[in-house]
C-alpha cells in the first residue's frame, strides 16, 4: 500500500512539472495550430539560467533571496526568448505552407540546444538543493519538502492561469483569437499582441518548470529539454491539445503512468524489461491516444475529415 502511495506521490510531482510545460504547448497550439518544438528547450534554458544565477548570487545574498532572484532571472530570460522566437521564426511564416513553421521550430530548437552546450558545456551540471532535505510521512509514503513545494507552486500557477483564461478580458481575447484570428481582429482584438502574450506566458511557465525539474533531479543538462518537451507534448495530446485543463489533467496523468510504469514494468514483464524503459511510456501513451481518441480526454471529438 505504502509503495503504491509513494508511486502516486512521485507521479503527481513529476506530472505537475509536465503539466506546466504542456500548458505552453497547448496554449500555442490552441492559438496558432503550431507545435512549438523549441518549447522544451526554452524549459532547459530556464533551468540553466536559474542554476547560473543562483550559484552566482548565493555568496552575496541569503539563500531564499538568491533562489527567488534566480527564478525571476530564469523567467525573464525565457520570456524574452519566447517573444523573439515567435517574432523571428514563426510570425513571418504564419501564412506559409504548414511545413515551414514546423521546420523553423526545429531550427530554433537546435540553436538553443547548441548555444546551451557552448555556454554551459556538455557535462551534466549539479543543481543545488533549494530546500532543506526534510520529508513528511503520510501513511508510509514519504514526500520531501521539494516535492511538496513543486506540487504546491505548480497547482497554484495552474489555478491562476485557469482563472486568467476563463474570467479576464485577456483570457476572453485569447479564446477569441484561438477560435478565429480574423474574427477576433474584427472585434478589435490585436491578434499579434495576443499571440505574443501567449508566448510570454508559456515561456514563463517553462522557466518555472525548468527550475523545478532540475531542482527535483538535482541535475541540469543542455539536452534535458528534448525528452521533457516530448513528454509534455504527449501530456498535452493526452488531455486534448488546445485545452488548458486538458494539459493539466494530461500532465498529471502521464506523470502517474510513468511512475507506476517504471515501478511495475519489471513485475509485469517478469523481469524482461527494466525501469530503463521509463522514457518510452510517454510515447506509447501518445500513440494509443492518437489511435483511440485523437481529440484527447477533454477534447471534443472532431469529425475525421480525410
Amino acid at each position: 500500500m505504502s509503495i503504491l502511495l509513494q508511486q502516486l506521490v512521485n507521479g503527481l510531482v513529476l506530472g505537475s512539472v509536465y503539466a506546466l510545460v504542456a500548458l505552453g504547448y497547448t496554449m500555442v497550439y490552441g492559438i496558432l495550430g503550431l507545435i512549438n518544438f523549441a518549447h522544451g528547450d526554452v524549459t532547459m534554458i530556464g533551468a540553466m539560467v536559474a542554476l547560473t544565477s543562483i550559484t552566482a548570487l548565493s555568496g552575496h545574498l541569503p539563500w531564499p533571496a538568491a533562489v527567488a532572484l534566480g527564478l525571476i532571472a530564469a523567467i525573464a530570460v525565457c520570456m524574452v526568448l519566447g517573444y523573439f522566437i515567435e517574432r523571428l521564426a514563426y510570425r513571418p511564416l504564419r501564412h506559409a505552407p504548414r511545413l515551414a513553421p514546423l521546420i523553423t521550430a526545429i531550427g530554433v530548437s537546435i540553436i538553443l540546444q547548441n548555444l546551451a552546450m557552448l555556454i554551459w558545456g556538455r557535462q551534466y551540471l549539479a543543481f543545488p538543493a533549494l530546500l532543506p532535505q526534510t520529508w513528511f510521512d503520510i501513511d508510509g509514503a514519504r514526500i520531501t519538502s521539494i516535492q511538496l513545494a513543486i506540487l504546491g507552486i505548480a497547482l497554484t500557477i495552474m489555478l491562476i492561469l485557469d482563472f486568467l483564461v476563463r474570467h479576464t478580458r485577456l483570457g476572453r481575447a485569447m479564446r477569441a483569437t484561438a477560435q478565429s484570428p480574423q474574427l477576433a481582429g474584427l472585434m478589435g482584438i490585436n491578434a499579434n499582441q495576443i499571440i505574443s502574450i501567449t508566448f510570454l506566458i508559456g515561456s514563463a511557465l517553462a522557466a518555472v518548470a525548468g527550475l523545478m525539474v532540475s531542482a527535483y533531479y538535482g541535475l541540469a543538462h543542455y539536452y534535458m529539454g528534448f525528452l521533457l518537451g516530448l513528454k509534455a507534448f504527449s501530456a498535452a495530446v493526452l488531455g486534448g491539445i488546445g485545452q488548458l485543463r486538458g494539459a493539466i489533467l494530461g500532465g498529471l496523468l502521464l506523470g502517474v503512468i510513468e511512475s507506476f510504469g517504471a515501478g511495475y514494468i519489471g513485475v509485469l514483464t517478469h523481469g524482461l524489461l527494466g525501469s530503463n524503459y521509463q522514457d518510452v511510456f510517454a510515447f506509447f501513451v501518445l500513440i494509443i491516444v492518437l489511435m483511440v481518441r485523437p481529440s484527447g480526454l477533454l477534447g471534443k471529438p472532431a469529425a475525421d475529415r480525410a
Binding site: 521546420i103 523553423t104 540553436i111 547548441n114 548555444l115 495530446v237
Partner: protein, 352 residues
C-alpha cells in the same frame, strides 16, 4: 523528366566521366580520406532521396527518419556478423533490411497518418528516440543488439566472391575498398533517384502533390489520402532501411549513437537546404552538408596554425550553423538552394 537526360549531350558525357573519375582524382589529389568522405556523402544522399519522398513529395514531416536507417543497419549487422555468427548473402539481407524498415514505416504510419500532419512530426520524433532506447537496452535479457557498445566486426558488403572492402585490379588500375564502395553507392543513388523521379511524375506523384497542397480537396478529387500518405511514408522508410544496410557493411560497425535525433535533423536539413521535392536538389544538399563540416574542420586546423589555439571549435558551431540555416532557408528561400522549376513556383507565396 527522363527524356533530356538520356540524350548524350557533351555536358552530360562530361558530367558522367567526372563522376566515374572522381574517386581516382580524389585519391590522387586531396587523399584517400576524401574518398571516404564522398562515400559518406553518397550514403546521406540515399537518405535524402528517401526522406524527400515523405517531406518533399507528400508534404509529411518525418523527424525520426534515422530510425529506419538504424533498422536497416542493425538487421544487416545481425545477419552478417559474429553477433550470431550468421553470414547471409547480400541478396537476402539487403531486401530484408529495406523491407523491415518499410514494415516499421507502415506500422508507425497506419495509426498516425489519418491525423493532422503535425502529429506525425512529433510521433516520428518519439519513434526515433524509442528505437534508440531499445537498441541501447536490448542486450538484456537476451543479447540482441549488444547494447551501447554496438555490433562490430560486421561483414563487408560482398557479392559472391567479390568483397567490396578489398582492393581489386581492373584494367591495370588498382581500386581501393572505399573507391569500390563509391561505385556501388553511386549506382544505388542513380537507381533510387530514377525511381523517385519516375514516381514523382506519375499518377502517384500527382496524388502526393495534391495531398501536400490541400488534403480535403485531394480527398474530394477521389484520392484515398491515407493510403497515399502511407505509401510515401513506407517508401521513404524502405529507402532508409536499404541505405542503412549498406552503411552497416561499409562501416563494419554500428552503435545506437550513430542514430540519434541530430542525424534525423541533419537529413532533414539536407532535404530542406537542397530543395524539397527536387531529387537533384536534395542530393546536392546531402553532399553539401557532408562536405561542409570537413571544410569547417580545416578552419579549425587553420586557427591552430595561425593562433596556436582553437578559438571557435568548428564541431561546436556546426549544429548551430545548421539550425540557423534551417530558419534562414525557410524565411528567405523556402524552395531551397537548388529547387526544381515547379517547386520554385510553388513556394513563391505572397508573404504579408
Amino acid at each position: 523528366m527522363g527524356t533530356p537526360a538520356s540524350t548524350f549531350s557533351p555536358a552530360t558525357v562530361g558530367k558522367g566521366l567526372l563522376l566515374v573519375a572522381l574517386p581516382l582524382l580524389l585519391q590522387a589529389g586531396p587523399g584517400a580520406a576524401w574518398v571516404r568522405i564522398v562515400d559518406v556523402a553518397l550514403l546521406y544522399s540515399m537518405l535524402a532521396i528517401g526522406l524527400n519522398i515523405v517531406v518533399g513529395f507528400a508534404g509529411l514531416l518525418d523527424l525520426g527518419y534515422i530510425a529506419f536507417y538504424a533498422t536497416g543497419a542493425y538487421l544487416y549487422a545481425l545477419l552478417d556478423s559474429m553477433q550470431f555468427n550468421l553470414h547471409w548473402p547480400l541478396w537476402a539481407t539487403l531486401p530484408l533490411s529495406a523491407a523491415l524498415a518499410g514494415l516499421f514505416g507502415l506500422l508507425l504510419g497506419a495509426p498516425t497518418l489519418r491525423l493532422r500532419g503535425d502529429y506525425l512530426a512529433i510521433v516520428t520524433l518519439g519513434f526515433g528516440e524509442i528505437v534508440r532506447i531499445f537498441l541501447n537496452n536490448l542486450d538484456t535479457p537476451f543479447n540482441l543488439t549488444n547494447g551501447p557498445q554496438g555490433i562490430s566486426l560486421i561483414d563487408p558488403i560482398h557479392l559472391g566472391n567479390f568483397t567490396f572492402s578489398r582492393p581489386h585490379h581492373f584494367a591495370g588500375l588498382t581500386l581501393t575498398g572505399t573507391q569500390q564502395y563509391y561505385y556501388l553507392f553511386l549506382a544505388t543513388i542513380m537507381g533510387m533517384a530514377w525511381l523517385a523521379t519516375r514516381l514523382q511524375h506519375s499518377r502517384i506523384g500527382r496524388a502526393w502533390a495534391a495531398i501536400r497542397e490541400d488534403e480535403l480537396a485531394a480527398a474530394a478529387s477521389g484520392i484515398a489520402v491515407r493510403n497515399y500518405k502511407l505509401l510515401a511514408f513506407s517508401l521513404g522508410a524502405t529507402c532508409g532501411g536499404f541505405a542503412g544496410a549498406l552503411f552497416a557493411g561499409f562501416q563494419g560497425f554500428v552503435s545506437p549513437e550513430s542514430f540519434n535525433l541530430m542525424e534525423s535533423v541533419m537529413v532533414l536539413c539536407m532535404v530542406v537546404l537542397g530543395g524539397m521535392g527536387n531529387v537533384n536538389g536534395v542530393i546536392f544538399g546531402a553532399i553539401l552538408l557532408t562536405v561542409l563540416p570537413e571544410a569547417l574542420r580545416m578552419m579549425g586546423d587553420w586557427q591552430l596554425n595561425h593562433f596556436g589555439h582553437i578559438w571557435v571549435d568548428p564541431n561546436d558551431v556546426r549544429m548551430l550553423l545548421f539550425g540557423g540555416a534551417l530558419i534562414l532557408i525557410m524565411l528567405y528561400r523556402p524552395a531551397g538552394l537548388l529547387p526544381s522549376p515547379a517547386q520554385r513556383r510553388e513556394w513563391q507565396k505572397k508573404l504579408p
